[in-house]
Amino acid sequence: MNDPYDGSSPLNATEQRLAAELTALADSPAPTAASDTAWAVRTGRSRLMRRRLAVLGAVTAVAVGAATLNTAWPDGRSGSTTVAAASATAGTAGLPLGPDTGRDPLVVQGTFGPLPAGFDTVVYNKGFSGQPGMSQAKAIGPKQTNATADFNRQLLFLTVYAPGVEPSLDSGGAGPRYRVDTAPVNGRPAYWVGSAPDNPAGLGSDWTLRFQTADGRWAQLQASYMSDADQVTDVVVQVAAGVRIEPQAVAMPFTINGLPAGLTRAGASLDYGPESGNNRAWEASVIFMLSDKSISLTAAPDTGPTPSPTNPFGFPVQEQPHSCRSSQGVKLCVSAMDGEAAFASIGGFAGLLDRVTSLGTDENAWTTEVIR
């Protein structure tokens, strides 16, 4: 069978034209480059330092967590996909959740239950998908199995659809997708979004399970960078069986004493676990809008002074305008892409930062009564 796309044949006229046009497009006039090698050196050094600190901290945390927590699959199964004992600073075990009282900017519709071994970081966000009010959850696991690249992490994405919404099989032009029915999840209908009527594997390297929840809504669990070697179908079904579908407020490590006039909530997130941003144990953020300008508040463990803003090569350092202070072991920062002047009407960065009170690094002291 002659395969025109197997790479062994000379390029046909269409392919030759595409190659030529791609080259022309890549060579087209462009703005001055803004990337900065010196900035990469500085940021890379910072990441290396934090990674080393995180490794030191994780040794202690895992030892404590393994002794005090006992998380397992709901059916108690064992084997290669059993759930690891979560550490005190990783996974969902120590993450405080509460009812939605309207004071927490991070209210999610679904949260993870027990997770497989190696899935030690969860990320919850709201308002980041381009659809206001929509929340997402992500679990970050071990490195991709049998991959050439060593930096892809196994990922699980949880999405909860609005009541009455039947998720579509439309792939947006990526090719046909099919409903491949599978065994019920918690006694309710479930199916894979397959690449063929009898193939539950999705397009690309993703696997997507949709399952109906107790209140009739549909939820979706998508696995990326996972394969049969990871028992992906078993893992996804087991995780789906353990998710909790109901509005829950995710506790944040700070309170905000009222919002300046004109500032509205646009989104919020919490990364929780060793794979959080910049290798910190966690990182929380809230994004506000003032008219059409965004301003963000970020909180993370204060790991000491950041590297000097000067670099060994004398190049200027690019940094987004920001203002920070530390309190109770937490570094609180306010920043904006458009700079502080755009927020003069609320008193600049201090107009927001001065209203923030740190609750420290102990998750048990965090609150869902964030904006007071």
Binding site: D3, Y5, S28, A34, G44, R47, F128, K138, F151, S269
Partner: protein, 178 residues
């Protein structure tokens, strides 16, 4: 001294290869500003792993893989989508004058309509001139997946390419515009 040597070697490599990476990034994302962000993140990741690069035979191939995976990860990441959306809101791409502006804009639009993995496959196969096997390795997927993504991508782009071919045959005065 070792750190200074390491940094100097890294800086020499990154400075020399950034323009090439920027072009690949631009074809992936269709926006020079986002391309700069992708290159910035890619070379930062490269710095973190620079100590192990002496064991890598093809550093260009490695860094290209990092770039593609950074691009694809951005498509998955809520943070990335947020950043991209804000970038689109605040930094609209301006047309840059050039001799083949119509063709470039049309191809850029056609590329942007492709799903990210199809776009990455097309760029790796036809701009970076990688084989199916090399593309599969860079994207951590099967060769069959590369072939199917290539086929779909080419089918989608063929409308654009056929139109350009027809326009070239017809001549400027009869250029097809719809």
């Amino acid at each position: 001294m070792a750190k200074q040597t390491r940094d100097a070697e890294f800086t020499e490599y990154a400075s020399a290869r950034s323009p090439w990476l920027r072009k690949v990034a631009y074809l992936l994302c269709g926006d020079w500003h986002r391309a700069d962000d992708l290159v910035q993140e890619t070379v930062t990741k490269l710095y973190v792993r620079w100590g192990r690069m002496s064991k890598v035979e093809n550093i260009d191939g490695y860094v290209r893989t990092v770039l593609v995976n950074t691009f694809l990860a951005e498509q998955r990441s809520p943070w990335g989508r947020w950043s991209a959306r804000r970038r689109e809101d605040t930094l609209p791409e301006r047309a840059v004058p050039g001799p083949d502006l119509d063709v470039s804009v049309d191809l850029r639009a056609a590329l942007s309509a492709l799903p990210p993995r199809q776009r990455a496959t097309v760029v790796l196969r036809y701009y970076c001139d990688l084989t199916v096997e090399q593309t599969a390795a860079a994207m951590a997927c099967s060769t069959g997946n590369v072939k199917s993504q290539t086929s779909r991508g080419l089918d989608a782009l063929r409308r654009h390419l056929d139109r350009e071919t027809a326009a070239a045959v017809a001549g400027p005065s009869e250029r097809i515009t719809s």
